[in-house]
């Protein structure tokens, strides 16, 4: 426990260095297999965690701080992905699919949490875990399968925008639920949190261009430090008013626009990859590998139900574009994979009752969907025998 906290950091360096080297190998394996590395990082964390095959002895302080920075950077880069125009367009067109998506995926997760007798807070968190598709995995699947040209693709990407925006409301509510005890004060905290998010969002969209102009002349080094510092600062302040640091970081990403947005994205990316990999590793590091046995069945059941939920989401999102059945199916399967967001949400519940169960279930669920999702997406797009022959002879 005291390796990194003690006077001699050499042991911590050796252990973390060895683990990061393993992560590097896993990242290469993932790239070779054409899948994202997140499930592999989670498995690596389980292996070196409690009850794993090679338990490590790393300071808890080091873990939690590194993991928190990983979350902030994940959310920052997510905010950097979208321009203000894309968000406005998403809001205009995506409310209906967004609501269906929430009902068909948050609903089963929330219900399962209640069925398992976890209490409201953990159930709301489990709902969130099931709700949000992994934008990282989905965009990778779309690019890898050469679907960016397809007609259903804008609907898929728009739904990701909507889900991310919904998180801007969901995360503060959850943060307040996790922090609160009595229903009365919790309602007040939620109201304050949502008000704060609204205010920051307004400021971000209104004066984001000015902030970007202010940062624009900076050298790469100054810009990297500026964006990193701003993210931590806003995240910390947001946490102070119980809004969740993650949302603060997300809004910083949204506020940056134009060339600064693109530059900041490229500069932060390597830093994000490093800290996010450690975040995923440490998340499952804290899970007792033995407890996974108990959650495999509910995780598999949830994966099936919410997999169907995503098929429905894809259908509702892509339908209005006038595309056919197969395209709607392609849209749905592209959305099945859950990933970074689900883990971020589960990590928020570390301190609540049944938080350990939630962590284990979320890890198993993400492992299943992150692997099954891309496979389903590939499978559904296989050329039909007759069409394939027709093309060959044509």
């Amino acid at each position: 426990m005291t390796a990194a906290a003690g006077g001699d950091p050499s042991l911590a360096f050796i252990e973390i260095g060895a683990v990061v080297l393993v992560l590097s190998v896993l990242a290469r394996v993932a790239a070779r297999l054409g899948i994202t590395a997140i499930p592999l990082y989670l498995v690596a964390g389980l292996a070196v965690g409690k009850g794993g095959i090679a338990p490590l002895d790393i300071s808890a302080d080091f873990i939690s701080l590194t993991a928190e920075i990983g979350v902030l950077l994940l959310l920052l880069t997510l905010g950097l992905e979208y321009t203000a125009d894309e968000l406005r367009h998403g809001l205009r067109t995506g409310v209906r699919p967004g609501l269906v998506d929430a009902a068909a995926n948050f609903g089963p997760g929330f219900g399962a949490g209640l069925l398992l007798g976890w209490g409201t807070t953990a159930a709301v968190l489990l709902g969130g875990v099931c709700w949000v598709s992994s934008s990282g995995i989905t965009s990778k699947v779309l690019a890898d399968l050469d679907r960016l040209g397809n007609r259903e693709t804008p609907a898929v990407l728009n739904l990701l925008v909507i889900e991310d925006l919904a998180m801007a409301a969901y995360l503060p509510v959850v943060a307040a639920l996790v922090a609160g005890r009595d229903p009365g004060p919790t309602a007040v905290t939620v109201a304050i949190a949502l008000g704060a998010v609204g205010a920051i969002l307004f400021v971000a969209l209104r004066w984001g261009a000015r902030l970007s102009r202010l940062l624009a002349p900076a050298s790469d080094e100054a810009l990297l430090l500026g964006v990193f510092g701003l993210t931590l600062l806003v995240g910390g302040l947001a946490q102070r008013v119980h809004v969740s640091a993650a949302i603060g970081a997300f809004l910083v990403g949204l506020a940056l626009s134009g060339p600064v947005q693109a530059r900041a994205g490229t500069l932060i990316e390597p830093l994000r990859d490093l800290f996010a990999a450690l975040f995923f590793l440490f998340f499952s590091f804290q899970i007792d590998a033995g407890s996974l046995v108990h959650v495999v069945a509910p995780a598999a059941a949830l994966a099936v139900v919410t997999g169907a939920g995503k098929l429905l989401s894809g259908r509702v999102a892509a339908g209005p574009l006038g595309v056919g059945q197969r395209a709607q199916l392609r849209a749905g399967t592209a959305l099945i994979a859950r990933g970074e967001f689900s883990i971020v949400i589960a990590s928020l519940g570390a301190g609540v009752s049944h938080g350990d169960d939630l962590g284990a279930l979320a890890a198993a669920y993400v492992l299943l969907t992150a692997i099954a999702g891309p496979l389903a997406a590939r499978y559904v797009d296989r050329p039909r025998p007759r069409t394939a022959e027709g093309q060959r002879t044509a």
């Binding site: 894309e86 367009h89 998403g90």
Partner: protein, 160 residues
């Protein structure tokens, strides 16, 4: 020219599509990173694309050169030759030029040089037929039409 539709791809970039004279649907996905994808849609399933070409920025330049960027400059040269004695020139307004901040009307460029400024390119936007109240900013590129002598004079007025 076929009608080109533009479709936003949030987080990725933008896609442009059109139908060729032969009835094939073609699209170009422009990534924010500068990469391009050239896609051709499936004749049997119009929702999906079958042929996809991945292009780096350099590849894109080479391909567009092959497809017709040279034709544009050829066409311009032809125009210059056809209209005897008339030339088109692009004049960049450098920072610190006297013209920065002056309007077209104040500068009286046409009466002084006989040259018409028909458009101004600013960043990625083009201001067609700028009015007398149009003010120059550093970095503007004025597209001017006139005699070679007039254009040289205009170059002197705007360029320094």
């Amino acid at each position: 020219m076929p009608e080109v539709t533009e479709i936003q791809l949030p987080g990725v970039g933008v896609r442009h599509e059109f139908t060729t004279a032969g009835g094939e649907r073609v699209g170009v996905v422009s990534h924010r990173t500068g990469r391009r994808e050239l896609v051709v849609y499936d004749r049997h399933d119009p929702d999906r694309c079958t042929t996809v070409l991945h292009l780096s920025p350099d590849d894109t330049r080479a391909l567009s050169e092959l497809l017709g960027a040279t034709q544009v400059s050829e066409a311009l040269i032809a125009v210059q030759q056809r209209v005897e004695g008339l030339a088109i020139d692009w004049v960049t307004i450098p920072p610190g030029s006297r013209a920065v901040g002056t309007s077209l009307g104040e500068g009286q460029f046409r009466s002084r040089t006989g040259v018409s400024i028909v458009a101004v390119a600013r960043g990625s936007t083009t201001i067609a037929a700028p009015g007398p109240d149009h003010r120059f900013e550093a970095g503007d590129v004025a597209v001017a039409v006139g005699t070679p002598d007039g254009l040289a004079q205009l170059q002197g007025l705007l360029g320094s």
